[in-house]
């Protein structure tokens, strides 16, 4: 039964939602909407799992005084601080949660992402080598798109933005569409295998 019950649930849920896509009946749609509501609740509960997972991972490391344990302790304390601030003080404008969100979380996240620009430039200098024909094509295309996407492009050549658009809309799009179609066919095949019980790795077994 440990195998059969999950397989039956998966089959019924999968078949139901495929049928929902093709049956425009109100009663059927209402039932599907209700079940979607369940999915939202399950996914919302995963946030609690996330918190528990952070605790599980960091508790052991802090207790054993492993490397950087103080940073892990700060992480857990900050998490509980923000959780408490949000639950007891609310998250709207002017609250403690909002102040910390705007003045610490927002600039720190933005800073982390901004560092990417520096690493890209450094990597471009060190790793973007034109060793093969393919690498040459990649480098030339990248340079052309980078020039064409900013006003420098039009200053150099009036039709530069149009040329960049052509690169994006023809060769890039053709490649992207091929990947998307391939991925979609793969997703359909995998979905059918899961629904029909041929694919069982999601149950933790082959």
């Amino acid at each position: 039964m440990r195998k059969e019950v999950p397989l039956i649930i998966t089959f019924l849920a999968g078949a139901f939602f495929i049928a929902d896509y093709f049956i425009p009946h109100t009663g059927f749609s209402d039932l599907a909407a209700k079940i979607n509501g369940w999915a939202i609740i399950v996914l919302a509960a995963s946030y609690i799992l996330g918190v528990l997972n952070i605790l599980r991972i960091n508790y052991g490391r802090v207790a054993k005084r492993e490397k950087d344990w103080i940073l892990k302790l700060i992480l857990v304390l900050c998490m509980f601080f923000m959780l408490g601030a949000g639950i007891f003080g609310g998250i709207t404008e002017g609250t403690l949660f909002d102040w910390f969100f705007v003045n610490t979380f927002t600039p720190m996240q933005a800073t982390m992402f901004a560092l990417l620009a520096f690493y890209i430039a450094s990597a471009a200098f060190r790793a973007f080598r034109v060793r093969t024909v393919q690498a040459a094509l990649l480098a030339i295309t990248a340079v052309l798109v980078m020039i064409g996407r900013v006003p420098i492009g039009e200053t150099i050549w009036k039709s530069f933005p149009d040329f960049t658009e052509w690169i994006m809309n023809v060769p890039q799009l053709a490649g992207k569409r091929a990947i998307l179609i391939g991925a979609a066919l793969g997703a359909i095949a995998t979905g059918l295998k899961v629904i029909t019980g041929l694919e069982r790795t999601y149950m933790g077994q082959d």
Binding site: L43, T106, P107, A110, M112, I147
Partner: protein
């Protein structure tokens, strides 16, 4: 030869200093008018503008803020210029987020840019009548599917805790049938791709997108197929929308910085390859 070998072994912190100057210095320089005129308005940007421009006053637009602070420099200007365009056209705006920080970004856009704008002030916008922020809901694409039948069921309360069904703007909004356009500003998952599949294809609502430059190529196929009304890509897309709508803002301002930093990266690619070919076969 020794110079090129030394160049290849350059400390990356020197590169970082060059990049820092390339980004920061242009922020303090006023771009010449000729430069601003050269900002390109791509077809997907123009088609989004045209679609909004032709909507009758009072039409309801939904904006999904599916991003967080790291991508704010690229995406927030897309939100601001689009919101300004909507309010100037007297459209009603429903904001929400499938990312936890999304609705906060929506509040930032309204409080820091929209409600302080002199032209918009004259409109005397009222929360709950002209615009609403439904807040965040966990559940990714399942939330979109739920909204297809009942938006109030997916978002029972708004950002401030008011029951959605009690908000005047939401009283005659049942599902996507009552929405003329969903504009998704996204930095990843869930984002434009999910809105296209689960809202556009499933329920027939018109979708438009605003993406980071990295994400733009992933969603651009849906413009050609007509599944997206329009698509803004990166800072260039945001600046394009500012140009076409006439609300010059941060994207236009940042374009000079972006242009110089692009030139800097290209310079490093060329310099790196030059040094590589000159010193090839020799020990560095």
């Amino acid at each position: 030869m020794e110079f090129w070998q030394k160049l290849l072994a350059i400390d990356r912190r020197i590169i970082f200093i060059f990049v820092a100057f390339a980004i920061i210095v242009p922020l303090f320089i006023i771009a010449p008018p000729g430069f601003l005129k050269k900002i390109d308005v791509s077809l997907p940007v123009q088609s989004l503008y045209d679609y909004v421009e032709n909507l009758p006053p009072g039409s309801k637009i939904m904006i999904a803020f599916d991003y967080d602070p790291p991508t704010t420099p690229e995406l927030q200007p897309m939100a601001v210029s689009f919101l300004k365009h909507c309010f100037t056209k007297d459209l009603k705006v429903i904001m929400l987020g499938l990312w936890p920080q999304g609705p906060v970004q929506a509040q930032f856009a309204m409080e820091r840019e929209i409600l302080v704008d002199e032209k918009i002030k004259a409109k005397n916008l009222q929360y709950g009548i002209d615009y609403v922020n439904l807040g965040f809901q966990a559940g990714n694409e399942f939330v979109i599917l739920r909204m297809g039948t009942d938006i109030a069921a997916a978002f029972p309360v708004d950002y401030f805790g008011t029951r959605t069904k009690e908000i005047p703007l939401m009283k005659d909004v049942k599902n996507f049938d009552n929405i003329r356009l969903v504009y998704n500003i996204s930095a990843g998952y869930p984002g434009t791709y999910e809105w296209v599949i689960f809202a556009g294809d499933r329920f027939g609502v018109k979708i438009a997108g605003g993406n980071t430059a990295v994400q733009y190529p992933h969603n651009s196929p849906y413009v050609q197929t007509g599944q997206l009304v329009g698509l803004l890509g990166g800072m260039a897309g945001a600046a394009g929308y500012e140009k076409v709508s006439g609300y010059l803002g941060k994207a236009t301002k940042y374009m000079l910085s972006q242009a110089v930093s692009h030139a800097m990266v290209i310079f490093f690619i060329i310099l790196g390859n030059l040094a590589y070919f000159i010193t090839r076969g020799r020990k560095v």
